[in-house]
């Protein structure tokens, strides 16, 4: 069945297991930020600023945005944004600055409930929203910012919403300017969230039919099946070329692969373990297209762990460990080339002008002998049990007692063959330099829950290393700065890495406009090894029917189905 996909201009897209869409309000709240939610609602409500990497590099995508490229004042403290002229909401009214202000007010007065909030960032860093006219407005910022960073990382979160439909406090309440007072904004926010929590009504609730995007909801089941149809009222310049997109949920990757083999989906995926089936799938009318991710993958060291921390703080130890990771072999044999070796904090594929030369060349290539020498020259000797122990504390480094062993536990995400094998390989190759890893496995959520940034005295600080990157450890917004993962005290800096120089470089990368600042940051952390760098796997290995043209897949893990074509 289904040898020719995309019948009647319909494309069926396979969702990954356990990622069923369940949120529709363009304001995300914590816990409902799965990428498929935003992928779907941004097709209904056009974001202010969209980035996309399908052109080959990650760049501003004006067609998918509701504004033209924002302009920054010379002092970097004022952003001026002009909305596009042709976008209208479903009721025919035009998109205006009021709709942006509505969003801003809701976020300003409800920032802690909003999913995109982090202290010091939006809306904290926006001092004022200034309406210039119906189509133009300004954000006044608290200090100068790198325009590229601010647009890519901050403004992408702004989602204009139809104020004339949304600005009410109950389902049959009157539309008003409730958002302009704090109390009113909170009521409106709560009302909208409550509506969004009523999943079974997504298909019928008029709120969700008010959008201005290229698609409209036809079906949104509690089981996670979502059908979007081409929005006939769409007035922008990014109109859909397909009639219908069906997002189909799957209970497991195996089940999806079985369906794929019978041609049951137009745009699906397969595990890299099944890549040998490539020709079989191709003969069934599929094309295999790796979907690269704008991400990096790594294993954090817990620098605050009382025993292992002092060891991890030694750069030579981190260097020795990095030398012992055979990334090329892992990429080739375990990921079957569906991953790219990673040497530093900036995504390496697709290529970007932000990548430093040091990171491109890999300062710590796979070299067991060198790794061993590094350890031995610092006073470590391998014992009868094959584990290196510190024989000379004066050379081992500060805080490492004599007899301390290079024995660590690594808590890794379960459920993926590739990860299992990568961890087994890591254990095996580290054992060759006298580093003993004890592997533990747990579901992703448990791994994350267990790998908290912590004070060394806290009981939850017992973890040594953890891996949660089966699909990439960290996905960047359009601009790959590292303030949230390597900045001192940042929440997602799980291993509590702290280096004043790194903090300085990070600060520069987010506030100055040139690419040198981020390259300098990349160069430093590539050498400093705040984590074990690992190959970054693709977002997914896609299998797409040959008659469905999806263009390049967006490394930011978003989708532009309106640009797909069916022949």
């Amino acid at each position: 069945s289904g040898q020719s996909g995309g019948q009647n201009g319909t494309v069926t897209f396979a969702l990954p297991p356990n990622a069923t869409p369940n949120w529709i309000l363009p304001l995300g709240i914590p816990g409902h930020l799965a990428s498929y939610n935003s992928s779907i609602y941004q097709l209904l409500f056009v974001p202010l600023v969209a980035y996309n990497g399908s052109s080959g590099t990650v760049a501003f995508d004006e067609k998918a945005s509701s504004a033209r490229k924002p302009e920054f004042s010379a002092d970097g403290k004022t952003v001026t944004v002009t909305l596009k002229d042709n976008l209208t909401w479903a009721d025919g009214s035009k998109l205006t600055t009021r709709d942006v202000e509505f969003w801003y007010n809701l976020v300003k007065y409800n920032k802690t409930k909003w999913g995109g909030y982090a202290k010091g960032r939006m809306p904290d860093n926006m001092v004022e929203f200034k309406t210039i006219d119906e189509k133009t407005f300004q954000f006044i910022l608290d200090k100068p910012y790198n325009p590229e960073w601010f647009t890519a990382v901050q403004l992408t979160n702004v989602r204009p919403m139809p104020q004339k439909v949304f600005d009410k406090t109950s389902a049959d309440g009157a539309i008003g300017d409730h958002d302009r007072t704090e109390a009113g904004a909170q009521q409106v926010f709560d009302f909208l969230v409550a509506q969004a929590k009523d999943l079974p009504t997504y298909q019928t609730n008029p709120l969700w039919k008010a959008g201005n995007g290229p698609f409209a909801v036809e079906e949104f089941t509690t089981g996670g099946q979502v059908t979007l149809v081409k929005n006939p009222k769409y007035t922008g310049d990014d109109a859909s070329k397909v009639n219908k997109v069906v997002f189909k949920p799957f209970t497991s990757a195996d089940a999806e692969f079985n369906v794929l083999q019978t041609g049951g989906v137009d745009y699906g995926y397969l595990a890299s373990a099944n890549l040998n089936q490539r020709s079989a799938l191709e003969s069934k009318g599929y094309q295999i297209q790796p979907w690269k991710g704008w991400a990096i993958t790594y294993i954090p060291y817990n620098f605050n762990n009382p025993q292992a921390g002092p060891i991890f703080k030694q750069l030579y130890v981190r260097q020795a460990i990095q030398h012992a990771v055979d990334q090329d072999s892992i990429v080739k044999n375990i990921w079957r080339d569906m991953a790219v070796a990673g040497y530093g904090p900036v995504p390496q594929d697709p290529a970007s002008p932000l990548l430093s030369d040091t990171q491109k060349t890999n300062p710590y290539p796979f070299d067991i002998a060198k790794a061993k020498t590094l350890l031995e020259s610092h006073g470590w000797t391998t014992g009868a049990d094959g584990v290196a122990a510190c024989g000379d504390p004066s050379r081992c480094g500060e805080g490492i007692p004599a007899g301390a062993q290079l024995k660590f536990t690594l808590l890794a995400e379960s459920g993926s063959k590739e990860t299992d094998n990568m961890m087994a390989e890591l254990k095996s190759s580290l054992s060759k330099i006298g580093v003993a890893l004890e592997l533990k496995q747990a579901p992703l959520n448990t791994v994350l829950g267990n790998s908290k940034a912590c004070q060394s005295t806290a009981p939850e600080c017992s973890w040594h290393m953890s891996f949660f990157g089966t699909q990439g450890s960290w996905y960047f917004n359009a601009y790959p700065s590292g303030e949230r993962i390597f900045g001192t005290g940042a929440t997602s800096n799980l291993g509590s890495y702290s280096d004043p120089k790194a903090d300085e470089l990070i600060g520069a990368s987010t506030s100055t406009a040139d690419h040198d600042s981020i390259k300098a940051y990349g160069d430093y952390l590539t050498k400093e090894l705040p984590v074990i760098w690992l190959p970054n796997p693709v977002y997914q290995v896609s299998a797409v029917k040959k008659n469905v043209n999806i263009g390049n897949q967006d490394p930011l893990a978003a989708m532009q189905p309106q640009r797909w074509t069916v022949s």
């Binding site: 949920p249 369906v259 049951g264 267990n450």
Partner: protein, 317 residues
């Protein structure tokens, strides 16, 4: 009888209470807590704290439990952390699906196991019996996931006799309408218990054939067929049905595998995914529903035995 029933119900309620306590406290022994995992790596400290406050994780465990119990007594199973639905909704959504599959699987297993077991009993300790014993054991000892996998590869992908997925409809009518798609998952599910039923029935029929009433029936001039069908069978079946009550948990674990392989989102999968994402309210809800089902099952089994089958009152030799 009424008194007996009353006490058994009281005990059943106590059992369910114990189950909720055990499950609740066990869940909270999982180190790390659910918030970081639920909110994702990108979540900020504030959000994590807000989440913990909202869910009451900052309170002592017994207090949390009392809150849970309080809501439970009002019929509120809570909200899923992650799925944007209430646990009650999720379960009413998924339970019928799993029920369809398990009930059909059990029926099919019984339909196959009954003639098999009876025939083996009639031919006991003869080559046919040995052969069938070996066959049922073979099915029994092949892990479910392998059975399902083989079914899919052979009958769905290569031969294309059946669809690779279980019915995808959301309504019960829709599921039954797609009956062809039910075949493979139901057979896989049946495999789990078929052998157990067949073996159990065989020994039960063998025991019953030794009973004196069989001799009485023969003396009346009843044919062997009639004796098996009308006399022995009913005796063996009542004990088999009594056993079914206790097989719910086994069926449930089997359901998970079938649901995963055949893209059929039921209770097993709901539970499994919740376990993967530390979605405590769902875990608690599913375990609660299952324990109610199991306890009711065993209660019904006990009552049925006490009511229908006077042999349970006799001291067995």
């Amino acid at each position: 009888m009424a008194r007996f029933l009353f006490w058994r119900v009281v005990q059943a309620v106590a059992v369910i209470f114990v189950v909720t306590v055990v499950v609740f406290f066990l869940l909270h022994q999982i180190p790390g807590g659910p918030s970081r995992g639920i909110l994702g790596i990108q979540a900020t400290e504030d959000q994590i704290q807000a989440f913990d406050r909202e869910q009451g994780f900052d309170q002592p465990l017994p207090i949390q439990y009392l809150h849970y119990l309080g809501r439970l007594l009002q019929g509120d199973l809570g909200e899923s952390f992650q799925l944007n639905q209430s646990v009650g909704e999720l379960i009413t959504d998924r339970l019928p699906k799993t029920l369809i599959l398990t009930v059909l699987s059990t029926l099919v297993a019984l339909l196959l196991a009954i003639p098999l077991g009876v025939w083996q009993a009639v031919k006991r300790n003869r080559p046919t019996d040995y052969l069938l014993s070996a066959l049922t054991l073979l099915i029994y000892s092949t892990p479910v996931f392998l059975v399902g996998f083989i079914f899919i590869i052979v009958f769905a992908i290569n031969a294309a006799w059946f669809p690779v997925q279980a019915p995808q409809a959301d309504t019960i009518g829709g599921i039954f309408a797609d009956s062809q798609a039910l075949v493979l998952p139901v057979l896989t599910g049946a495999g789990v218990v078929l052998a157990v039923f067949a073996r159990y029935l065989r020994s039960s029929v063998v025991d019953n054939l030794d009973e004196d009433y069989v001799r009485t029936a023969r003396a009346k001039g009843a044919s062997e067929k009639r004796i098996i069908a009308r006399h022995v069978f009913k005796n063996s079946l009542t004990s088999l049905v009594a056993m079914l009550g206790y097989y719910l948990p086994v069926l449930f674990s089997g359901a998970l595998v079938t649901e995963k392989l055949f893209n059929y989102p039921g209770m097993g999968l709901l539970f499994w995914n919740a376990a993967q994402t530390s979605d405590f309210p769902i875990l608690l809800g599913v375990v609660l529903v299952l324990s109610v089902a199991t306890v009711t099952g065993s209660l019904l089994a006990d009552v049925a035995q006490a009511l229908i089958d006077p042999r349970t009152r006799r001291v067995k030799t």
